[in-house]
């Protein structure tokens, strides 16, 4: 029983982080139909930035995290301006390929600045132990769940009710028609990339807090694929549920069967989902009027 609770909580923490990273992914996909293969590297960047501000510059952590977010937003705008804007109107596949290039570039930049040696993340997130019944859980893990849930809730509201949120979905649906309403495609792309970069930075901080600051952080970007495919590429509730399911699956297989298998399980799920429900649990079906 104790083990079950323990595994559930750690599964949910990972799930919450996955969901957060998936959110940035979904955001970009929703507004531009682009799969962003550089999401994991945005995470990496966020982790290193916080490490830089807090551990290397010695800033107090709220300021450090705030600066990280500001820089992340800035990076998002830069990516839109110099990488994606020249490609507006080109086939989607070109944009997707460019994100792959972008991921290598970001990784190289991080390596050039901070080197390949793993560093220790400044321990500003409280990590004392909390008792849930008989199980012991780290406070940092609980916090990760709470923060992820708050952010996810906010974004759902944003998409449903705000002017920019509706504009983003409109652009995803029909770019030219959106243009004819006076919606600026560039601005929406810039907003979605900035938000994606900022959420990735938050995710990066949470991951780094658990695994340390190293290239491994970007690995989460890869694990997000099963999550978004499971939940549906364009669905925020899907990202949350997909994150939770994949996180739990990993934790349970890791705990009860074997650590090695837990790495594989998400991708087995990915393949199964693609066979049964290619648009995921909550993804948009293609509407066809006959």
């Amino acid at each position: 029983m104790e083990k079950l609770v323990q595994l559930t909580v750690s599964g949910l923490t990972n799930g919450a982080i996955y969901a957060l990273v998936a959110l940035g992914f979904v955001l970009i996909y929703k507004s531009s139909d682009v799969l962003n293969f550089a999401q994991g590297e945005l995470l990496l960047f966020g982790a290193y930035l916080t490490f830089f501000f807090v551990a290397q510059q010695g800033l107090i952590w709220p300021l450090g995290v705030l600066l990280t977010l500001v820089v992340a937003v800035f990076i998002g705008v830069l990516i839109e301006r110099f990488v994606l804007r020249p490609l507006i109107g080109e086939p989607i596949i070109s944009m997707i390929m460019v994100t792959i290039g972008l991921s290598s570039l970001l990784k190289a930049i991080v390596n050039a600045i901070w080197g390949p040696v793993p560093r220790e993340f400044p321990p500003f997130i409280p990590s004392h132990e909390v008792y849930l019944g008989t199980a012991v859980v780290g406070m940092d893990r609980l916090l990760a769940i709470v923060i992820a849930l708050i952010l996810l809730g906010l974004f759902s509201l944003f998409f449903r009710y705000s002017r920019e949120g509706i504009a983003m979905r409109a652009i995803a649906d029909d770019q030219q028609a959106a243009l004819s309403m006076g919606i600026s495609v560039r601005r929406v792309f810039a907003v979605s990339w900035s938000i994606a970069a900022a959420t990735a930075a938050v995710g990066g901080v949470m991951v780094a807090n658990i695994v340390g600051v190293s290239g491994d952080v970007s690995g989460v970007g890869l694990r997000v694929f099963p999550v978004v495919i499971l939940g549906g590429l364009d669905s925020i509730p899907g990202a949350i549920l997909g994150g939770a399911i994949i996180g739990l699956l990993e934790a349970y297989t890791g705990g009860y069967i074997g650590q090695g298998l837990s790495q594989v399980i998400p991708f087995i799920v990915l393949v199964l989902i693609l066979m049964v429900r290619p648009y995921g649990l909550f993804g948009q079906e293609i509407i066809e009027r006959v």
């Binding site: 507006i88 509706i166 409109a170 649906d173 028609a177 006076g182 600026s184 509407i287």
Partner: protein
Amino acid sequence: MLTLNNVEVIYNDFILVLKGLSMEVREGQIVALLGANGAGKTTTLKAISGLLKPENGEVTDGSIEFAGERIDKKEAAEIVRMGIFQVMEGRRVFEHLTVEENLLAGAYTRPDRQRIREDIEHVYHYFPRLKERRRAKAGYLSGGEQQMLAIGRALMARPRLMLLDEPSLGLAPLLVQEIFGIIQRINREEGTTILLVEQNANLALSIADYGYIMENGRIVLEGDTATLRDNEDVKEFYLGLTEVGKRKSYRDVKHYKRRKRWLS
């Protein structure tokens, strides 16, 4: 209100689509722009609304003026803000958004956010059927309802000039009648100036005040609707009537072929 002066549009740097087109739309009128497929009607509308750029088109010569200001170099978003709104051909509703969200998207450029609720009701007043389906995804609406939504979405921006590209496309005749009736009402009640592109010349001329006929990227004929309806060439080539005034039969086509006078 809107003046096009010798406008030339080139796609992909070498396909000349509009070859010196000039026309004028006066405030408060419904103006019909008629012509066969490929004449350049849609291109004309896109040149006005600034939607050419994403398709690699460009106004290379001449000028387009709206309310005394040149707009042929402006961005689409800016032109919408100035009060020109194009309802694109083939409805182009946002399929995965609900009816109401589609309307909100139409109001994107509006500065007076608090009056948007009111305006949504106003659109429902013109199109009661949309109200019944307000929470439905637009992709599941019928063709007629989608066209209504497309026009309603345009109303949300409170445009001064509405560009309508073939609103009758693919709709049942009865529905077309209904939609044209509403277009006329919008023109009268809202005072919205309308530039209407149509294949269905008869229908367009029945609600328009003035008409232009386009061929091969140029205006070949213009006049108020009564004059156009009386023109023998228009009757023959656009209204499908013979000189006697009765409907033409395919049997006669072989024996008699009229030459378009405006070509000589």
